[in-house]
């Protein structure tokens, strides 16, 4: 349909200047529910895009569509100019798109280290280094099912990192962390960008955290993009304040 005809003539729509990841007019329906409504966004190589919006606005759905868990109802996802919409997660993982989950999903009966051994290794860092990086160095031999909720999130992140993603999608990694821990996490993410040139989409409700991490934000409301630009401008935008910040 739309996606096909569009991909048949890619030259018509020249990709935005050096955008690594592009979401083009994606709509996603769940029955009658329009969870995403013609959402478009682009992220450049090495850029961190913050994705914010009230609960249920469609942030996770965007991540799900980009990462191949869901196929878009219409519209498409481009990686490096190639249409990757609807490809199986494992193929995307091997092509350099990976993610974490809002509710972490490790392999509970395997140790943290084994959780990483499972993965297709695509990056330059060793498993040990990655565990150190996310702060699980001391818990490598613990069963994943015995870790705390937030440690499981770190493990989720580590598992994504092992595959050596170019694009990392992070879904509310900061939820449930203390202030100190949030600061540590922000440092980790920035290091990934700086040292490995990673590109990120970060879903987060904690503005203090995004301030440290994101270069730019896109605000969703009811499945539609209502703002795109710098974080401080977003926080001053009346529409954003109304639906998201409150006050």
């Amino acid at each position: 349909m739309f996606a096909e005809s569009a991909s048949a003539a890619p030259s018509n729509e020249a990709p935005r200047a050096n955008a690594l990841l592009e979401v083009e007019g994606v709509t996603k329906l769940f029955g009658p529910l329009r969870a995403l409504d013609d959402v478009s966004l682009g992220v450049k190589q090495g850029e961190v895009l913050g994705l914010v919006g009230p609960n249920g606005s469609g942030k996770t759905t965007v991540i799900n569509v980009i990462s191949g868990l869901l196929a878009p109802t219409s519209g498409r996802v481009l990686l490096d100019g190639h249409d990757v919409s609807g490809k199986a997660p494992f193929r995307l993982a091997r092509r350099g798109i990976n993610r974490t989950f809002q509710i972490p999903k490790p392999f509970p009966a395997l140790t943290a280290r084994e959780n990483l051994e499972v993965a297709h290794h695509g990056g330059t860092l060793s498993d040990g280094e990655i565990l150190e990086l996310v702060g699980l160095g001391g818990r490598a031999e613990r069963l994943a099912g015995e870790l705390t909720a937030s440690d499981q999130k770190r493990l989720d992140l580590a598992r994504a990192l092992v595959t050596g993603p170019r694009v990392l999608l992070v879904d509310e990694l900061g939820a449930g962390l203390s202030k100190t821990e949030l600061d540590e996490l922000a440092v980790i993410l920035r290091r990934l960008v700086a040292e490995l040139g990673m590109t990120m989409v970060v879903v987060e409700h904690l503005m203090g955290f995004l301030e440290q991490v994101a270069d730019r934000v896109t605000v969703l409301n009811a499945g539609a993009v209502i703002f795109s630009g710098g974080l401080s401008e977003a926080l001053a935008d009346p529409a954003v304040i109304k639906v998201f910040i409150g006050g």
Partner: protein, 291 residues
Amino acid sequence: MVLYALIAGVLIGLFYGFAALGLSLAFGVLRVVNIAHGDVIVLGSYLAYELSTQAHINPLFAIPIAVPLAVAIGMVFYRFVAPSLGRSKDPEMLSLILFFGVSQVIEALATIGFSVNQDTLLTGPVGNASVQIFGQSFPNYYPVAAAVAVPGALLVMFYLYRSRLGLATRALMSSRADAMLSGIDVGRTSALSFGIALALAASAGALSIYVNGGVSPSQGTDLTTTAFAVVVIGGLGNPAGALAGGLVFGLAEQFAQSYEPNWAGMVPYVLLLAVMLVKPEGLLSRRVRYA
């Protein structure tokens, strides 16, 4: 012929659905794979048989007798095995072994108690007259079985979807820990569901002795298989799904018998496969998002 197969398929299908209800409930609520389900049906059939031949009571009275009996036995039994199932890492599979053993025990006891021969009831549930439906003549137990099955399933639906206890039961299906946190007495509710599941099986036995042309101790495995197929077609844990699955199974079987009898044994299973591949969670089921 078309009409006959259609009506017979619907009537027998409703019976199949009813015969599968208990299995669906036990699996859906308790994650218990009750391999002995068919053997409980067999016990129900023997109860009906004994009532009719020894006490000269209408065999359908087996149902009101079996229900409280089965609920009581089921509750006690479940209380007895629940701790072991609860401790297990994979309770589903443990229940499979456990009930495989139970099934062996029931079949052995039935063999010792009732001998290996097939036993048949010569008088129908409402006399021996056949029944005319749209000009076709059917054994009267076809509509009787359907007439018991439909309100039976409705009752189960009422219990699950309209009663407080049913809400508790479904909560339990969804998450044990969160059910406890809602103040639900998980042990009692589970035991009761298991009891009801057995009662449904035993009740189906009073009809099965007619529909399946008699009862014998070794029938259990086949009945379990059919019930499983029916439940899976319809979707686990959903009474309406069981009835839908029963209809699909019954119609497939009867139409095949009418047109391709030598493939009739295969047809319901091939159909089951087809349904599974098109709708992997069964015809009537709700999916939950992953992330």
